[in-house]
């Protein structure tokens, strides 16, 4: 399970989510693709077709920013010293 894998990583959680779906774009087809494509499985599609994202466990790969673009997502790297800290990499 993806949750078990993410639990192996070291994360330093930020109070400010570094990525956010812009209001009005929750049903965009590109976000639905991220449900399949996000390597951390952080995008979920609800029954009403709206996609939500959690930032806990984000691996900061940036794939969603590349695929969805800045029109749909506010995406920035987490602040210094926060987010995933790879011990092996």
């Amino acid at each position: 399970m993806i949750e078990e894998k993410l639990a192996k990583n070291v994360f330093k959680v930020s109070e400010h989510p570094h990525l956010r779906i812009k209001p009005g774009f929750e049903k965009d087809v590109r976000l639905r693709m991220m449900v399949m494509f996000c390597p951390a499985g952080l995008y979920r599609e609800a029954e009403d077709g709206k996609v939500t994202v959690s930032t806990d466990g984000c691996l900061e790969c940036g794939t969603c920013r590349v695929i969805c673009g800045t029109e749909i997502l506010d995406w920035q790297y987490p602040e210094g010293g926060l987010g995933v800290q790879y011990r092996f990499g």
Partner: protein
């Protein structure tokens, strides 16, 4: 008004000759080279330590950069294993054809783990006199007119005569100052990797390796459910790096399981599972990889600014070799040399003239060749099916060889093979 980071930097300087953003291989190579030559530089890294945000598959091809850093490769260099076995597996839905080249490769390459390697390189750069500040996130580059004059960290602006951007494959800094439009999904791939702890003895036994020697394997076909990409396996000293790479452009018509499930499926393939048995996953990582080759190269400089490594799109996938780290180290080196010579604008020429520019130019047709879906969703299965029929002895009469051949490779198929592979003449 400019504030200085007086506490963190001991009030040393308000203006730096060189500021480097990102303590990965490219940034650290640049810092190390500059520091060795006596040029003061400050490296800003957003992670807790150098390498905290770095991920490789991964293997470092050492020969191209050996002489650029001749005193780096001593006993203390954290190379994991010297790769002496090169494997390629064509993976069908059932069955897989594996080829392995043992020995014979004339230039050395090594598996590495980046958190360890980058930290070590950061120490080397610091010993040489570079200043490295971690947990420092650069939010944007600072411009005065057309020239980049510094970087912003939190509320503070740090000024520099030259800024070297080494912030990786998704370089928001260069995009932020309009050096290039957002990098297209066509020029990027997503890599995911598990590091699986396994004892030295088991690794050497399973892969039939002498102590310190390592194996690399690439997988193509069903491993990505026929999508453009592949699987990889590298043996480290006491772990295995196992992962997948999928071209970002595949998202548009993705028919396969979600990426995390695809990796699990790869792990549970019988020919892979047996290699990992008893191992324990200790980390799960994901990272973008520049995959555009020559066409994916981004501008290398602007007034006051040099771009190195992944941030400049310097990487090359040939299908059987995947490179980026040697280009990162070399581009960092050449950026430093250009700065030392007082001619930073010459850096792009230096890159074009060295092996990076030449490789990217020579293999500029490769990206297009590798983009053909049939390489992933057709040929691996085809070869496996053909061989499976050859090796099958049924009850009763065995089919003639030519009958089996014609079933799998009728004329129209042979014609397609020619058409699909003829592009390789251009590489």
């Amino acid at each position: 008004m400019y504030l200085t980071l007086s506490i963190d930097l001991g009030g040393k300087m308000e203006r730096f000759p060189v500021i480097i953003v990102g303590a990965g291989l490219a940034g650290l190579a640049c810092a190390y080279t500059l520091a060795k030559a006596g040029t003061e530089c400050l490296v800003l890294e957003r992670g807790d330590y150098a390498g905290a945000k770095s991920v490789t598959g991964g293997r470092l091809y050492l020969e191209p950069v050996r002489t650029l850093f001749s005193d780096l490769w001593g006993e203390d260099c954290p190379l994991e294993r010297k790769i002496v076995k090169e494997g390629l597996t064509l993976m069908g839905k059932e069955g897989a054809l594996s080829l392995e080249l043992a020995g014979g490769v004339k230039a050395a390459s090594y598996s590495i783990l980046r958190a360890r390697f980058d930290r070590w390189l950061a120490e080397k750069a610091e010993e040489a006199g570079a200043m490295i500040m971690t947990k420092a996130f650069v939010s944007c580059l600072v411009k005065e007119g057309e020239k980049i004059v510094g970087v912003q960290v939190g509320n503070e602006i740090l000024k520099a005569d030259c800024v070297v951007v080494a912030d990786g494959a998704l370089s928001l800094l260069t995009e932020g100052v309009g050096l290039h439009p957002p990098v297209s999904a066509t020029n990027l791939a997503l890599g995911v990797k598990e590091v699986i702890a396994l004892s030295r003895e088991r690794i050497e036994e399973r892969f039939q390796l002498a102590p310190g020697e390592g194996a690399a394997r690439l997988y193509v076909g069903e491993v990505t459910a026929g999508n453009f990409g592949g699987g990889f396996l590298y043996t480290n000293s006491e772990s295995i790096s196992l992962g997948l790479v999928v071209a970002c452009e595949m998202h548009a018509h993705w028919q396969a399981p979600a990426i995390p499930s695809l990796l699990d499926r790869f792990k549970s393939r019988p020919e892979v599972e047996i290699l990992l048995r008893g191992g324990e996953t200790v980390e799960y990582a994901a990272h973008l990889i520049p995959e555009g080759g020559r066409k994916g190269m981004l501008p290398l400089s602007a007034p006051g600014l040099l771009v190195v490594g992944d941030a400049a799109g310097l990487a090359l996938n040939l299908g059987y070799t995947v490179r980026g780290m040697d280009y990162a180290l070399a581009s960092g080196y050449y950026a430093a040399r250009a700065i030392e010579e007082g001619l930073p604008h010459r850096y792009p020429e230096m890159v074009a003239a060295c092996f990076i520019g030449k490789d990217l130019e020579n293999y500029r047709a490769m990206r297009e060749f590798l983009g053909q879906r049939r390489l992933y969703n057709h040929y691996p299965q085809k070869v496996v099916d053909f061989l499976a029929d050859l090796y099958t002895i049924p009850a009763g009469e065995k089919e003639r060889l030519f009958t089996i051949w014609r079933r799998h490779f009728p004329w129209r198929e042979v014609w397609r093979v020619w058409r699909d592979f003829k592009e390789l003449r251009r590489t």
